[in-house]
């Protein structure tokens, strides 16, 4: 029996592999469709490996070491490492300052760095090198005084597009840098927000399900012709079981070929991926390896799906020795099980959320719920199309031709657009979730950009450095005004507490214009002093004595710098500064508190800039440079998106575009195939004198009717799914019209498919189609 089965499967393979030009074209179409699907699935199966690889390299460059008094003693291999880094436009550039305690060749150096950079020497990633070449002085100015001496290798970067640098430095010590004894600390993992997990799960479900639908559609390319071939076999004695095995062999060959094509596309795709960089996401080719068991599932599942879909399709037709009889028109589609799928999906989504108390989410439950709901929406489509087209009457000839054709067999058209339905329903839900989560994830920074647009800060050795610092920024290109402020920390002249610490307070010195940005002040003149109680401590009182060099004094053995709160000091309240922070302690005007000789202070400049000029910020960052670990520029913005969210959004956009293009391609193939099958009928219509425009319009209607119904169903279902998901993450609907742009995209697809089909239609309309041999 097995030999018989194998022979029949082999006969199917023979049909698929040796059917001449048209046979090969059909097999190639199926293989190409399956191949594209397989390639996308293999890429998706590689995502965990990609993330692991990137994370492992990120961990490998993390320093093991501490700052300050607990730092390890210097040794021949120890390295001092300080955080540097900068931002250009919206791109974060990772930067580290390195300084060897001993011989540079012996010192611990980050992975991917062949030679330890000497002071002023720069080792850059390929992406940063390219940025420096393309962006010109606006970026290279920031690296003035440095020389590029090497390139960071792949083992030291998260991805090929990551901009990063290591800069050799001097003057680092354990007060401002880590003494690193080795690299490779396991980085602390930030668990994703449950809302983001839901978003990721839904996104993967939505993106992958159309791929499976696409594969299922692809294996039915050439289905009508295959059925006729099977009928011919029935005439010479093949029974029903034999024809099924022959059909299975045929599609098995095409799907196995599709696996090979998919593997090749995957191999080509992974080479191309390295050249792509979306925002800061970039991937090394070597990282794109499918998780072995996911890869195995794909390899096993695709032929199984192919055979199952084919056998299921054969159940809908009666293949007899005299020909093929479709049973779909005689047996009405049942709606109950389609609604049941939807109902179970909804029930699962309701059951698995919302749960405010839990910080984790049941990804499997949500995925199953989303998939069931999407399956239900897709399953409803053939029923809805059938019900709709049976009621269609009258209209112009093109409409009549289209609706009669659909009435004859609406299932095929519904299947073709099922991928669109899944994609649009999923995308509508995602878009709603996306819009709502974006609102949630948009972090309110508290910045007040009406009062300042940027803040520059620098650790200074003594108060006298404030003036030159502020002046430097005040005269920078695009800066309209700059307010300077000095901050420091003072010890109170009281006994040590039980833990051996001395209580302290912060102090801020600036003119009245600056103080008004930080505290409530009605009357202010140079020489005034204000005190603001902190939430956890009483206000300082007149007569309290402070050691302005207190914390520094302990470690640096510097002399105390005593200052007494004057009797005229007035108590007031703090207000959030332009940068959103609130300060407490002493607020003094320059004449009241002279800090010119006080060590270890922070100089802050609040900067007003010319509105609308993006380069101003870059000029300010250039002033700060990258060589000084103790100076930086912070650009103020009212809100910012979390980086996690921006990453997901980028991935969604790319995925959605790929899916829509794939579905459009499969629809073009299906339409062309339908046209080829109806060559004779089209020729007859032309012989009757039917105009080209009429037939073209009929093709348009044949696509438009099922797609239109599919889009309506997808919009309604997607919106319902979106509402459920939003309820799950506890967010409000912010965009009820999310379906509009996607529906417009769907309509665009109808036009695209029709236009792509017209050349074939015109060819088919030549009278020579009437020839039978």
């Amino acid at each position: 029996m097995i030999r018989t089965w194998l022979r029949e499967l082999g006969l199917g393979v023979r049909f698929a592999a040796g059917g001449g030009r048209s046979g090969w074209a059909r097999t190639a179409l199926t293989a190409a469709g399956v191949g594209v699907g397989v390639a996308v699935l293999l890429l998706a199966a590689s995502v965990p490996t990609v993330l692991d690889g990137s994370e492992a390299r990120s961990d490998a460059r993390q320093p093991v070491g501490v700052m300050g008094e607990d730092a390890a003693p210097p040794g021949p291999t120890t390295t001092l490492m300080a955080w540097s880094g900068t931002t250009f436009r919206d791109t974060q550039i990772l930067g580290r300052l390195l300084q060897a305690d001993g011989d540079r060749e012996e010192a611990v150096r980050p992975p991917g760095v062949a030679h330890f950079p000497a002071p002023g020497e720069l080792v850059v990633s390929p992406a940063l090198r390219e940025m420096l070449e393309t962006e010109g002085e606006l970026l290279s100015e920031r690296f003035r005084g440095t020389e590029i001496v090497g390139t960071i290798g792949p083992e030291g970067l998260k991805g090929p597009g990551e901009p990063a640098y290591y800069l050799g430095a001097d003057g680092l010590d354990t007060d401002n840098a880590w003494r690193v004894t080795e690299l490779g600390m396991k980085g602390g993992e930030t668990p994703l927000d449950p809302a983001l997990v839901v978003l990721l799960v839904v996104m993967l479900s939505v993106l992958l399900m159309p791929i499976v639908v696409f594969v299922a559609t692809a294996v039915r390319f050439g289905g009508e012709r295959r059925d006729r071939r099977l009928a011919a076999l029935r005439l010479v004695g093949a029974d029903i079981a034999m024809t099924r095995r022959i059909a299975a062999g045929e599609v098995l060959f095409a799907s196995l070929l599709g696996l090979v094509v998919g593997a090749l596309l995957f191999l080509v795709g992974r080479e191309l991926v390295e050249g792509l960089s979306i925002s800061t996401i970039s991937v090394y080719t070597a990282d794109i390896v499918p998780v072995w068991w996911l890869g195995a599932v794909i390899v096993m599942l695709v032929p199984v799906i192919a055979v199952a879909v084919t056998l299921a399709a054969l159940r809908g037709v009666a293949i007899g020795p005299l020909g093929v009889f479709r049973e779909g028109t005689t047996r009405r589609r049942r709606v109950w099980w389609r609604l049941l799928l939807l109902a179970v999906g909804v029930a699962m989504l309701v059951y698995f959320g919302p749960d405010d108390a839990a910080s984790t989410v049941n990804e499997w439950g949500i995925s199953a719920g989303v998939l069931l709901m999407l399956c239900g929406i897709t399953a409803l489509l053939p029923w809805a199309v059938e019900r709709a087209v049976t009621r269609m009457r009258g209209g112009p000839l093109s409409w009549q031709l289209a609706t009669r054709r659909l009435q004859l067999n609406s299932g095929m058209a519904a299947r073709a657009v099922s991928g669109v339905t899944v994609a649009v329903a999923g995308a509508v839900a995602l878009h709603m979730l996306f819009a709502a989560v974006e609102t949630q994830q948009r972090v309110e920074t508290g910045h007040d950009t009406d009062r300042a647009q940027a803040v520059a800060s620098r650790l200074i050795d003594e108060g006298a450095e404030l003036g030159p610092f502020v002046d430097r920024y005040a005269t920078a290109e695009g800066v309209t005004s700059a307010l300077g402020l000095v901050r420091g920390w003072a010890d109170l002249d009281v006994a040590l507490d039980a833990d051996g610490n001395r209580p302290g307070t912060s102090f801020q010195i600036g003119d009245c214009r600056v103080l008004r940005e930080l505290i409530e002040v009605e009357a202010c003149a140079d020489g005034d002093v204000f005190v603001v109680p902190s939430p956890d401590r009483e206000a300082l009182a007149p007569g309290d004595r402070l050691d302005l060099a207190g914390p520094v004094e302990a470690s640096a053995e510097s002399a105390p710098s005593w200052w007494t709160v004057p009797a005229a000091a007035r108590e007031t309240h703090s207000i959030p500064g332009p940068h959103g922070d609130q300060y407490y302690g002493v607020f003094a005007t320059p004449s009241a508190l002279d800090v010119s000789g006080v060590p270890s202070l922070s100089a802050v400049a609040l900067l007003d800039t010319v509105p609308g000029d993006e380069d101003v910020v870059e000029h300010l960052r250039n002033l700060a440079g990258v060589q000084e670990w103790n100076e930086g520029v912070h650009v103020l913005a009212n809100t910012r998106l979390t980086s996690q969210f921006a990453t997901i959004r980028n991935a969604l956009f790319v995925g959605a575009v790929v899916i829509m293009l794939m579905i459009a391609a499969s629809m073009v193939v299906s339409t062309l195939e339908q046209l080829r099958e109806r060559k004779r009928q089209l020729s007859v219509l032309v012989a009757f004198g039917t105009r080209r425009g009429t037939l073209g319009a009929s093709v348009l209607w044949q696509t438009a009717v099922p797609v239109g119904i599919g889009l309506a169903l997808a919009s309604a279902g997607g919106t319902a799914l979106g509402v459920l998901l939003l309820d799950m993450v506890g967010a409000e609907v912010t965009d009820w019209l999310a379906f509009l742009p996607l529906t417009a995209a769907g309509l665009g697809m109808i036009l695209l498919v029709t236009v792509a089909s017209l050349p074939m239609l015109w060819r088919m309309m030549r009278p020579d189609g009437l020839r039978t041999e």
Partner: protein
């Protein structure tokens, strides 16, 4: 004991009724076929002659009446059993060859043998012999789309006879051919059938084609009349 063994007809139909929708195609047709004879079934368009052929071959099941092949009631057989009959005992030639377009002519002719379990080499060797006999050996590597209608019918005849069937059903086998080609095809079909002692049920509306038969049956309004007075012998 089969009808054949008892000297009775190989294939016999009695009181066969068949209705398509509300249109009666056969209304109590009787028919008998003996081993090795060639019977022409004639009649105007829509008379039910093709339906009679389909009922006799077990392709279509009648609503009423019986069809016996070698004593076995066809409607009592399962689909697999009827398929096995078509594979081993029956052969078919239709107006359009019903050839599988993906296969070469040799592979098409070898198909019934391969479906019956023969290995490829022996099946194709036999197919080649039949193609030579029917004078179309030169197109053995061609696919159906690459040969003429007459050649296609000869390949179809070869396929119908390759498994040495007991009955060949031919439905308007020359319907798509010119008279010259039609006559040659009929000569080859009847000669080959007689050589292998296969009986032939030949549906046609052309008297010149019917002339190749041993006797003629006319179907009119769903009933069959044996012009030689032998009808109802079963």
């Amino acid at each position: 004991m089969t009808g054949e063994q008892s000297g009775g007809p190989l294939l016999a139909a009695r009181g066969v009724h068949k209705v398509y929708g509300s249109t009666p195609a056969l209304a109590g047709a009787d028919f008998a076929l003996h081993a090795g004879e060639v019977v022409a079934v004639m009649g105007p368009s829509g008379s039910g002659k093709s339906t009679l052929l389909h009922c006799l071959a077990g392709i279509v099941t009648p609503e009423r009446g019986t069809v016996h092949y070698r004593g076995r009631e066809l409607s009592a057989l399962s689909d697999a059993e009827r398929s096995a009959l078509r594979r081993g005992e029956f052969g078919f030639v239709f107006q359009f060859g019903q050839l599988v377009p993906e296969l070469t002519c040799t592979e098409n002719v070898a198909l019934p043998l391969r479906l019956a379990g023969a290995d490829r080499k022996s099946a194709e060797r036999q197919a080649r012999e039949w193609l030579e006999r029917l004078e179309v050996d030169d197109v053995r590597h061609h696919r159906p789309g690459q040969i003429s209608g007459g050649q296609g019918q000869r390949v179809a005849i070869a396929r119908a006879l390759v498994a040495t069937p007991r009955v060949v059903f031919a439905d308007e086998p020359t319907g798509a051919l010119d008279s010259l080609n039609g006559e040659r095809v009929m000569e080859l079909l009847t000669a080959a059938a007689r050589d292998t002692r296969a009986a032939v049920v030949l549906v046609t509306h052309e008297s010149r084609v019917a002339a190749y038969s041993d006797r003629e049956v006319v179907v009119r309004d769903g009933r069959a009349t044996d012009l030689s007075g032998l009808a109802g012998a079963a």
